[in-house]
Structure formats: structure tokens, C-alpha cells
Subunit: 363 residues, 2 copies
Amino acid sequence: MSNPSLLILPGDGIGQEVMAEVRRVIEWFGAKRDMQFDVSEDLVGGAAYDKHGVPLHDDTMAKAQEVDAVLLGAVGGPAYDDLDFSVKPERGLLRLRKEMDLFANLRPAQCFDALADFSSLKKELVAGLDIMIVRELTSGVYFGEPRGIHMEDNMRVGVNTQRYTEVEIERGARAAFELAMKRDKKLCSMEKANVMESGILWRDVVTEVHADYPEVELSHMYADNGAMQLVRAPKQFDVIYTDNLFGDILSDCAAMLTGSLGMLPSASLGSPMENGRPKAMYEPVHGSAPDITGQGKANPIACILSFAMALRYSFDEGAEATRLEAAIEKVLADGVRTGDLLSDENSTGVSTSGMTDAILAAL
Amino acid sequence: MSNPSLLILPGDGIGQEVMAEVRRVIEWFGAKRDMQFDVSEDLVGGAAYDKHGVPLHDDTMAKAQEVDAVLLGAVGGPAYDDLDFSVKPERGLLRLRKEMDLFANLRPAQCFDALADFSSLKKELVAGLDIMIVRELTSGVYFGEPRGIHMEDNMRVGVNTQRYTEVEIERGARAAFELAMKRDKKLCSMEKANVMESGILWRDVVTEVHADYPEVELSHMYADNGAMQLVRAPKQFDVIYTDNLFGDILSDCAAMLTGSLGMLPSASLGSPMENGRPKAMYEPVHGSAPDITGQGKANPIACILSFAMALRYSFDEGAEATRLEAAIEKVLADGVRTGDLLSDENSTGVSTSGMTDAILAAL
Ligand SMILES: CC(C)[C@H](C(=O)O)[C@@H](O)C(=O)O
Ligand SMILES: CC(C)[C@H](C(=O)O)[C@@H](O)C(=O)O
């Protein structure tokens, strides 16, 4: 059987730096665990625009469809702010999500014990926090038609469409219920069913899917209240299921509770391919961080944890994933810190590669 | 000249209890400041549905259009959860906002020194916090057409439409810039221009309006980053301007930063009427709180502070508003607390009316 294949798309800014570290981790697994991957690399985002005039070349898209998992760094940066909407770096990311049909975006918000002090929230509210947000990723207002800016009575009008079919809501709900079954069996669904009909349908469909998972305790919450409860008492949640736009905001809010964005991975999963593996893309939650690009300051942990998610969800190597996560916890407990994890702005901590050195040593 | 007129719509749950306290404050201003108001009262929300089968009777709507200011308590409650969407209590509130054309929703997120310990956030992050969120309130996905649930290929499909005209964006932006001019001259506009064309138009129009307010420092932020920054370092903000749906979520998130929802007022303002006063409705940010309804536990401060906003924005009585706010600060500094402001669940604190007693005594 051929080796599992990985397509690395470092993208822009620190995406390139953290992805270089992930390559070292992949090499470690090859050398020490005899896990061989066929690794290829290509351009996405601003980097692809610079070369091809588009944020994702068709050839890259085709490659992404063929591999077992895509690892993505980050896209965008100030150099591309004034580009036309249709060629913005973000379009590359959205095209990958849409054409690979990666409907279930898993965003864990976990607070590492060693970093609980680093959260904005009081320590007792976040210590031990372990939430999994499942965000629907291929529909909603991100992709709905009609959309655009047009003239009406001599006025510019901006339109986007929030649109969900029951099938779209259902398949994401199933992914969320499945995760809840493996965790604390609690699922909270968030929408604005009090003001949006698409939210009513969301609530109804999630309730229908619940019939297949009677062991899971299901609750519903309006998304505004959800944002509030995430700040007030985040530990009340286990799995949260919400739509593309609410998920964008709520997962960033939840991410921030844990103290550092530089810590948080994500997995975007689609339907099973012929080999049984799901279509999959893994990316850190953080952006391209132009302010620290090229300085060796980026925290590679979010991207390395994204690779751990790939081990778990694409390659059925849950035990190895747990081992990698444990090594990261150990390194943090030992006090190893990149700059973003230091409250004192003057202390420097370790470099991007220094963090990886420590993690590999702990493995 | 006739007295200024107020329409009180207590609504449901604790709305009725806190509005009774506001009446006492209004009477105090009559007796001690010789400020006479013509006060009438009517039904909204579930209370109106119970009597009329609709959440807002046409006669009530007509009255609301005529008065100088509407004071609203809260709408909704579990008894109404299974009602048809078109007669839900929330519809009453939305109809008032839409037909009165109350486009600028002002939501201060202020942290009272005496309560800084009560926030989920570390004290140093919120002490002295003073943000004003301006939320566009009459458009966007709350009101856009087409909307609804329909069948397509034997599947249910839920649709809502995010729609903004440049005029809608502009008038709210002007309100936000005007407020910024009276405050720290900083405005942050939030949208998702990286994925939504309506967000691009939003950003463009706000930038155009900025030309009339060159003294104000304008910044733009994606709404997901906004949620994150609100949790990370809320004091970086002065005035925030955002759309109806983002405003709903971000203002609740900001509200929670201050520790207690029971503290936060809001003003919804429209265009000037013939007498020069803006169309206006004032309401606490909190909901109807069915869990504590009828127990004398509700905190009346949010509703009393909403009346203070009425003094300032409808009746040009800024000095009296400040005096009322100062009385509330003093009472809090003296340690007077309703139950929601106590961390120890077993201590009882003062009752709803006890809090008002203390405020009136301090005035
Ligand atoms: C970069 C942007 C298009 C993206 C989104 O809005 O989905 C990002 O915020 C995310 O959450 O992955
Ligand atoms: C009750 C509900 C319709 C309302 C809204 O979504 O606007 C509320 O959440 C608010 O923020 O005033």
C-alpha cells in the first residue's frame, strides 16, 4: 500500500514559519515511528496570488482533492488588503473548504493547565477548560446566493444570503453528536431562531437528529447568549454546534478564553473518500500575523497540534496524537515559552524552532 | 407647552418588576425636580399576545409613534417558546424598532469600579472600562427579504437575507462618529469584509463618512477578531460601530465583560421628530429572566440607567442623567447589592425595591 499523502500549503506570513516546524515533526514520526508520508507542498493565499494572480491555482485545488490530508498555514496580510474581493487571499481558503466539501470544522478550545494564568479570564473559570466547537463550514452566509453590491435607486446596496438546507444542517449535527458521544455527551446548539427562519430550521433539524443520539443531552441557546455564556462560565459547555458565521465569531471568542491563539488547532472534515479516510484539511486558528513575520517569534504549537488532529482524524493514530499532545503539555509545564506566552514583554522566550526542539525532545 | 410623554411597556417577566421601580424614579424627578412627564402604559410581547393574540397591538404601535420616548422592559419567556414565529414576543420588539425606524442602538459597556471584581475577566482588564457600542438596529439579516423556510427538491431550506443600503450604513455611522466626538474620538467599525460583500460596502461607507469627522481615529476590524479583542483587551475600544447581527452578539459579549447584565441600559434612537426630539426607545439589555420572575430579586439598575439615557438623549437633561448615574455608583460603592451582584449564592442582598430605595436616598 502506498504511503498516506499530505499536501502542505504554508500560505502567508508566519504560516510559512510554523509549517517548517511541522515538517520537522513529520520527519520525526518517519524516523522514530516509521510512519512515512508522501509530502508535497504548494502555494495558497497571497503567495499564490503573487505567482499566479489567483489565491488558489486549479492545479493546487486538484492536488488537494487527491491527497489524504491538507495542512494549511495561514492566508492574507496587509500587502493584499486592497486586492479585489474575488482574488483576496481568503478566497483560496474558502475555495478549498467549499470544493473539498469540508462541512465539519472542529475547533477545540482547551486551556492547558500551565497557561491558565495567561487567560483574560479568572483562572478558576478556565482551568481545565475543554470545549469542542463544531462549526458548519461549507454553507450559510459565506456561500449563499444572491450576493454582491449592486445599484438600486441610485444607491449602493450590499447583499449576502444566509441559506441552509436540512441536509447541510443534519450532516454537521451528526458529526457534532458523534463527537459528543466520545466526550461528555453534552451538545449545545446555537442559532438565532428568535429572529431568523434559518435558525428555526437549524433548531428543528438538530432536534430531529437528536433522536438517533438519545444518550446525548441536547440544549439550544441563542448565539448572543452563547457569546455571553462563553465569557461568563465556559466550563458549562462540552460540544457546541453552530453555523458558519456564528461559528467564526464564537470560536474566536472561545479561543481567546484559553489565553493564546498560538495554541489552537482546527480540523475541517468532509465525507469519506474511497480509502475510507475523510476529506480533510488541518489549520491553526491563528492568522498570518504580519506583525511578527520573519522574526522567528511565531508559536508553532497550534500548527503542530493541527498535525496531531490529522493523526487522530485522518490516520487513525489517536494514540500517537495523544502522545504528541502530551509532549506539548510537558514542555509547557516545564516553562518553555514562545513570546506570545510570556506576560512580560521584555523576556524573549524560545524561538519558533526552539519550541519544536523542546517538543521533539519531550516526545 | 405640554409635558414630555413617556410610554411604558413593561413586557414580560422581570420587565414588569423593574419597570415599577422606574416609575418610582420618574415620580421622584416629578416631586424633587419638578420634571413632569405624561406617563402611559401598555402591553408588549407575551403579555400582549395573551390579551390580543399578537405581540404588539396596532393601537400600541400608534401610541409609540406619538410619544417622546418609549421605555421597554423585556419580552419573552418559556410560556411562549412554542408559538408560531410570526407571533413570538420578540416580534413586538422588532416591530417597534422597525416602524419607529430606530436605527442607532447605543449600548454602553461600562464597568463600575465597585463591581470590577465581579467580572469574569481579571480586574485590571476591566476596571474603568467604558465602551459605547453603536449597533445598526433596523436592517440587516433581521429584516432582509427574501426570508423563510421553503421546500426545494423535497428538502426544507431556511433562508435569510443580509441587506444594507449605503444610506442605512451611513446614518448609523454618523451617530457613531458624533458619539466618538464627545468621547475619546476613537471609532472601530466591525464587519466581515473578507467574506461578505455587504461588509465591503459597510467598510467603504464608514470610510467615506469619516471624511466629515477627520478628528476621529477610525479603525476597521473583522467581527471575529472583534470578539476576540473584546475578551483580550477591551479597554482598547472607545466607540464600536457594527451591524444588527454582529451588534447583537458583540454587545452581549461586551456586556458580560462588565460582570452583570443587570447593570446595562440601552437607547435606540431614530430621526428627529417635529419637536426636535429623536424617536426613541430605552430598554435594559437583560431579558425577561423567567427563572427569577416574581421573587423581588431582579436588579432594577439596568432599567433605571435606561431612564437616565432617556434624560440625556430625549430630554436634554444630561446633568440630571449624570446625577442619577452618580447616585447608582455611590450606592454600589456603599456595598448595596441585589442577588445578581453577589458572588456568594447564600447571601441575599437587597430586593428590587430595596435597591431603588437606596438609589433614591442617594439622589
Ligand atoms: C480568514 C477567514 C476567511 C476565516 C473565516 O472567516 O472563516 C477565518 O476567520 C477563520 O475562522 O478560519
Ligand atoms: C430579543 C431579541 C429579538 C433581541 C435581538 O436579537 O435583537 C435581543 O437579543 C437584543 O439584543 O435586544
